[in-house]
């Protein structure tokens, strides 16, 4: 091997390990420029370095399964008194004949122990997630909920969602936990960023309003104003920053950015649907999402759905039927009911 004396080798190594100083980089650059063969040598070594990582990872280890296991393991350490203090629950075996007494002291004891254990576990959970501050947990069971957060930020929780947050924020971040979908209007505080966590993602505002949606297998984040940073919880080194009008989806390969967020992303909150030359398939997706009904296009329609465009505005229309009737007229299509799905088709 030519040219690579020890000194150059150590420079190359520093460079590919991204530890080279500016002076070292300059020195390496002049060596690279001196001879194309040097450049080739450098690239071969850099490639080798890069290629060696995947071969050292021949097996896939699932860290979320591992974390569940670990969490179960460290809980008792956190709160040993509860676990150790709880007597083993006596199970009432079905079919076991016992004299029935009006008051069964032993059963009563067993019930008390179970209660204590449950309460203990709950208490632990709340300590782990809030550090001693009381937490609020709001479930939007019957409809959308507006939630005024302790720092003056506002969250709108979509029906079916749940939001957990401390009664007062303290420390280096304002952390809330979300299940389902919510829209946030957040004041920026660099010293204490506002952070939304789901099972899979961590979304950190950088001064903003945004929507986080955790639905089915994907998390979706849309930014209305300002900027947010999205991080996959399992892969904290990978994150992306989204600006206003941008949207990202968490897939198996991390967050993937879509430059255009859906105009009707907030329809569940505003109850307004707006279509501006919007392709029919997108229209259908939006209506379906707002009203929670199943709508489909007939198979012959699907390939050309993008060509059928709708321009309309529906404000506070309570019934999906009215919206669909309008779309039907505009598109010249018909609708039929197939089981629980409404299907657009051409007559």
């Amino acid at each position: 091997m030519k040219n690579t004396d020890e000194h150059i080798e150590s420079l190359i190594l520093k460079q590919i390990r991204q530890e080279a100083s500016a002076a070292e980089q300059a020195e390496l650059q002049s060596w690279l420029d001196a001879d194309p063969a040097n450049q080739a040598e450098y690239e071969a070594l850099a490639n080798l370095w890069e290629a060696s990582l995947p071969v050292l990872q021949p097996h896939t280890f699932d860290r979320s399964v591992a974390w569940d296991k670990m969490r179960a393991r460290i809980r008792p350490v956190e709160e040993p008194a509860v676990v150790a203090g709880a007597p083993k629950q006596e199970s009432a075996v079905p079919g076991e004949t016992r004299p029935v007494r009006p008051f069964n002291a032993r059963r009563w004891m067993a019930a008390a122990a179970v209660l204590l254990l449950l309460a203990g576990a709950g208490w632990w959970y709340y300590r782990a997630s809030s550090g001693g501050v009381r937490t609020e947990s709001i479930v939007a069971r019957d409809g959308n909920r507006r939630i005024d957060l302790p720092d003056g930020s506002v969250a709108f929780l979509r029906k079916g969602g749940a939001l957990t947050y401390p009664a007062r924020f303290s420390g280096h971040q304002r952390l809330v936990e979300l299940e389902g979908e919510a829209y946030f209007e957040v004041g920026h505080d660099a010293a204490s960023p506002f952070v939304v966590r789901t099972d899979r993602s961590v979304v950190e505002e950088l001064g903003t309003s945004f929507v986080v949606r955790q639905a089915g297998p994907v998390d979706e984040v849309s930014v209305i104003t300002g900027m947010v940073k999205c991080t996959e919880r399992a892969e904290s080194a990978r994150s992306i920053v989204l600006a206003a009008g941008e949207k990202a989806m968490l897939t198996e390969n991390g967050f993937i950015k879509n430059s255009q967020s859906d105009a009707n992303i907030l329809s569940w909150k505003t109850n307004i649907l707006e279509f501006n030359g919007t392709p029919l398939d997108q229209v259908v997706a939006d209506v379906q999402d707002l009203y929670g009904i199943h709508i489909a296009l007939s198979p012959d329609l699907r390939p050309r759905a993008g060509e059928i465009r709708i321009t309309a505005r529906f404000a506070h229309t309570e019934q999906a039927k009215e919206v669909l009737e309008e779309i039907k007229l505009m598109s010249g299509l018909a609708i039929k009911q197939e089981k629980d799905t409404l299907v657009f088709f051409r007559k």
Binding site: A44, L45, L48, W49, H59, R63, A66, R73, S170
Partner: protein, 194 residues
């Protein structure tokens, strides 16, 4: 946020960051992935028990790698003395690990297989430094402390590793590792740098 919550979050972050690389590291000693996970879980449980001392230190990374390494080696010793031999007698006697296991599953790439061979051909000390620097993503100083050698030795061994691997592959007719093939596979490689 009080201390106990901060500890919990720090622990969770460290776990998320280092669980897979530590398992991969363990796998270069112990050939059974499940066993590797057990060893790594055990090490993390120890960290949790001693979280007040360990979590906030910068050295947590090399503490973890050192602990995994030691536990793997003592596991191999125990196995040997109990008569179950999971690695060859020769390896046990010479301490000839870590060894890169072959890639699981289908469509092995020839270049990659040769690269595995190239790594396994390295002298033990050299291989150890290389594997640790690659999987642990550590600075020279951290590798030096983990392995109990000098920083200069780390640097020399790494240079030597890279040069030997390059020469081994050259002899096999590979001038440079094909980038394209790797780029195709990139989707399932999580932390491969640009």
């Amino acid at each position: 946020m009080d201390t106990s919550q901060r500890h919990y979050q720090q622990f969770e972050t460290v776990f998320a960051d280092l669980y897979p690389p530590l398992c991969h590291y363990a796998l270069t000693f112990v050939k059974d992935p499940e066993l590797c996970e057990d060893i790594v879980q055990e090490v993390f449980a120890r960290v949790w028990e001693r979280r007040k001392d360990l979590l906030h230190t910068d050295g947590i990374r090399y503490y973890l790698f050192t602990a995994v390494r030691n536990n793997c080696i003592s596991h191999l010793r125990r196995e040997k003395s109990s008569g179950t031999v999971a690695f060859t007698e020769k390896d046990a006697e010479s301490g000839d690990y870590p060894v890169v296991p072959p890639k699981e599953g289908q469509d092995k790439l020839d270049d990659e297989q040769l690269l595995v061979e190239a790594i396994n051909e390295l002298p033990v000390k050299c291989r150890e430094v290389f594997v640790l620097s690659r999987l642990g993503n550590m600075k020279y100083k951290e590798i030096a402390e983990t392995l109990g050698i000098s920083i200069k030795t780390v640097e020399n061994q790494l240079s030597k590793a890279l040069r030997s691997m390059r020469e081994f592959l050259k002899k096999k007719g590979i001038e440079t590792m094909s980038r394209e093939k790797r780029l195709d596979r990139r989707s399932d490689i999580s932390h491969l740098g640009e």
